[in-house]
C-alpha cells in the first residue's frame, strides 16, 4: 500500500502486492500486475525447473511456458486450495517433471542403471542463489529427516522420479516409499512452520 498526498487531500492508493492480489488483477488482463507478479515468481520458477531439468536452455524454455501459463490461467487460481506461490510452483514442478519423463522415456533405463550406484548427485547448482536464507532453512529441515525420508523426497521432488522409480533406486518396497514421502513431508511441514 502506498499513499500519495496531493494539495491537502490524502488519496489512498491501494497497490496490490501479494501474489494472491496480483493474480486477481492478472486474471482481469492487467499486464502491469503480471510484471510485478513476474518479479516475485520468476526466480523460484526458473530455480525449480533448473533443479529438475539441469539443462539451462530447457529450463528456461519450461520457465517461460510456466510463466505464460500463469498469465493464461490466472482466473483458475483458487485461494481455498493454497497460496498463489504454491499454485505457481506446483505448475512449474509438474511441467518440469513431465518434460523430464517424456524426454527421458527412451534413454532413461540406461541412465538409471548407471546412476544406481551413486544416488546423491544433487549438489551441483552453479546459479546465483536468490534467497540464501530460505535455502539454508530448507536444507536444515531436510537434514533433520531420516535418511530414507530425505532421499525419497529429494529423488522425487528434485530428481523428478516416480515413487516406483524411487523404490527401485533406493531398493526399498514401494509401500515404504509412499509412507516415507508422506511422513517426511509432514515433518518438513512442521519444521518449516507451514500452516
Amino acid at each position: 500500500m502506498t499513499s500519495t498526498v496531493r494539495r491537502g487531500t490524502v488519496r489512498l492508493v491501494i497497490v496490490p502486492t501479494s501474489p494472491e492480489q496480483l493474480l486477481a488483477e492478472v486474471a482481469k488482463g492487467d499486464g502491469d500486475a503480471f510484471e510485478r507478479l513476474y518479479d516475485q515468481i520468476a526466480g523460484p520458477v526458473l530455480g525449480v525447473a533448473r533443479r529438475v531439468l539441469r539443462d539451462p536452455a530447457q529450463s528456461e524454455e519450461v520457465a517461460q511456458e510456466v510463466l505464460l501459463e500463469v498469465w493464461r490461467s490466472a482466473s483458475r487460481f483458487d485461494e481455498s486450495k493454497g497460496s498463489a506461490l504454491a499454485w505457481v510452483l506446483t505448475i512449474a514442478h509438474r511441467r518440469a517433471v513431465d518434460r523430464v519423463r517424456s524426454a527421458q522415456a527412451s534413454t532413461d533405463r540406461e541412465l538409471r542403471d548407471a546412476s544406481r550406484s551413486h544416488v546423491v548427485p544433487y549438489d551441483d547448482v552453479a546459479d546465483e542463489v536468490e534467497n540464501r536464507l530460505e535455502r539454508e532453512r530448507v536444507q536444515q529441515a531436510l537434514g533433520a529427516l531420516t535418511d530414507l525420508q530425505r532421499e525419497a523426497i529429494r529423488l522425487a521432488y528434485y530428481g523428478g522420479y516416480t515413487q516406483r522409480e524411487v523404490s527401485d533406486l533406493l531398493d526399498v518396497p514401494l509401500g515404504t516409499i509412499k509412507t516415507r514421502l508422506r511422513d517426511g513431508l509432514i515433518r518438513l511441514r512442521d519444521a518449516l512452520g507451514v500452516t
Partner: protein, 252 residues
C-alpha cells in the same frame, strides 16, 4: 486399497505419481476432505522446496515473457454450475456446426486425440490395475472399430472433446484433452441424449494429468442422438442438474 490411497498425499504433492495414479488420486480427492486438507499443507511444503531453489533469472527471460503475453488469450474463470433445475439439457440443435471449412482443424483434433488416446492406452496397459486395463481395452476396441465415427467439439470451460461411437461395438468413448479439473467436490458426468432431449446417465469421470481422459460411456449409444457432459456433485446425478459443457450430435 482404500487405506493406502490416503497415503498418496505425499507422493502426489511431490509429483511422484505416474499418470494413472495421479488421475486415480485426483478422483479420490474430490470426495475426501481429509486428503484435501492434508494435501494443502504438503503442497505448500513442496513449494518451499522449490522456493529454496530460486535463482536470479536472466533479464532476457522477462523481456521474452512480457512480450508474449499479448498473444496469449486468457482462460475465462470456471463458473460454478448454475442451480439449473429449470435448465433443460441444451438442445442438440444449438451445436456449433462443423462445416467443410472446419475440416482441417477437425482432422487435426482427431489426430491429436488419437495420439493422446494411444499414449493413455499405453500408460494404462502398463498399469497393473486390471480395471484400468479392461477399460483401456474397450476404449481401444471402439476407437479401432471399422464403423467408428468421431465427432469433436470444445468444452465450454476450455479443453477439447471427441466422442467416438461404434454401432457394431454398441459402445461410445469420450476422449478429452486439456480439460480443467472439475471444481472440488464435483465431477464430470456423461449422458446419452435422445432426440427428445431425454438424458441417460453414462458414467462420471475426472480428467487425469494435463486434463486428459479416455473412457467408454456406460451403456449403449443405441437410440441416442447426442452425447453430453455436465458438471455434477461428486458421485454423479441421475439426471443432469447443470447445462452441458459439451454436447455433440452423434446420431440422427
Amino acid at each position: 486399497m482404500t487405506e493406502s490411497i490416503h497415503l498418496l498425499t505425499g507422493a502426489y504433492a511431490v509429483d511422484a505419481l505416474d499418470g494413472d495414479e495421479r488421475a486415480e488420486f485426483e478422483g479420490h480427492l474430490t470426495g475426501c476432505d481429509d486428503c484435501r486438507e492434508e494435501l494443502r499443507g504438503l503442497t505448500e511444503t513442496a513449494a518451499r522446496l522449490a522456493g529454496a531453489e530460486a535463482v536470479v533469472p536472466p533479464a532476457g527471460l522477462k523481456t521474452s515473457v512480457l512480450s508474449q503475453i499479448d498473444s496469449v488469450r486468457q482462460l475465462p474463470p470456471l463458473t460454478p454450475p448454475e442451480s439449473a433445475a429449470d435448465e433443460a439439457i441444451a438442445p442438440v440443435v444449438e451445436l456449433r456446426p462443423r462445416r467443410t471449412s472446419r475440416l482441417l482443424s477437425v482432422a487435426a483434433v482427431v489426430l491429436a486425440v488419437a495420439a493422446v488416446s494411444l499414449s493413455l492406452l499405453l500408460a494404462q496397459a502398463r498399469s497393473k490395475n486390471t480395471e484400468l486395463s479392461a477399460q483401456a481395452q474397450s476404449v481401444a476396441q471402439v476407437l479401432t472399430a471399422a464403423d467408428a465415427h468421431t465427432v469433436t467439439s470444445e468444452f465450454a470451460g476450455g479443453g477439447r472433446g471427441a466422442v467416438t461411437v461404434s454401432a457394431t461395438q454398441g459402445s461410445a468413448v469420450l476422449v478429452a484433452t486439456a480439460l480443467p479439473s472439475p471444481p472440488s467436490g464435483q465431477t464430470y458426468e456423461m449422458w446419452f441424449i435422445d432426440a427428445d432431449g431425454k438424458a441417460r446417465a453414462a458414467g462420471t469421470f475426472v480428467p487425469g494429468p494435463n486434463g486428459s481422459a479416455a473412457l467408454p460411456l456406460t451403456g449403449s449409444p443405441a437410440g441416442s442422438a447426442a452425447v453430453g457432459v455436465t458438471v455434477e456433485p461428486a458421485g454423479g446425478s441421475t439426471q443432469p442438474t447443470t447445462k452441458p459443457i459439451l454436447a455433440v450430435q452423434t446420431g440422427p
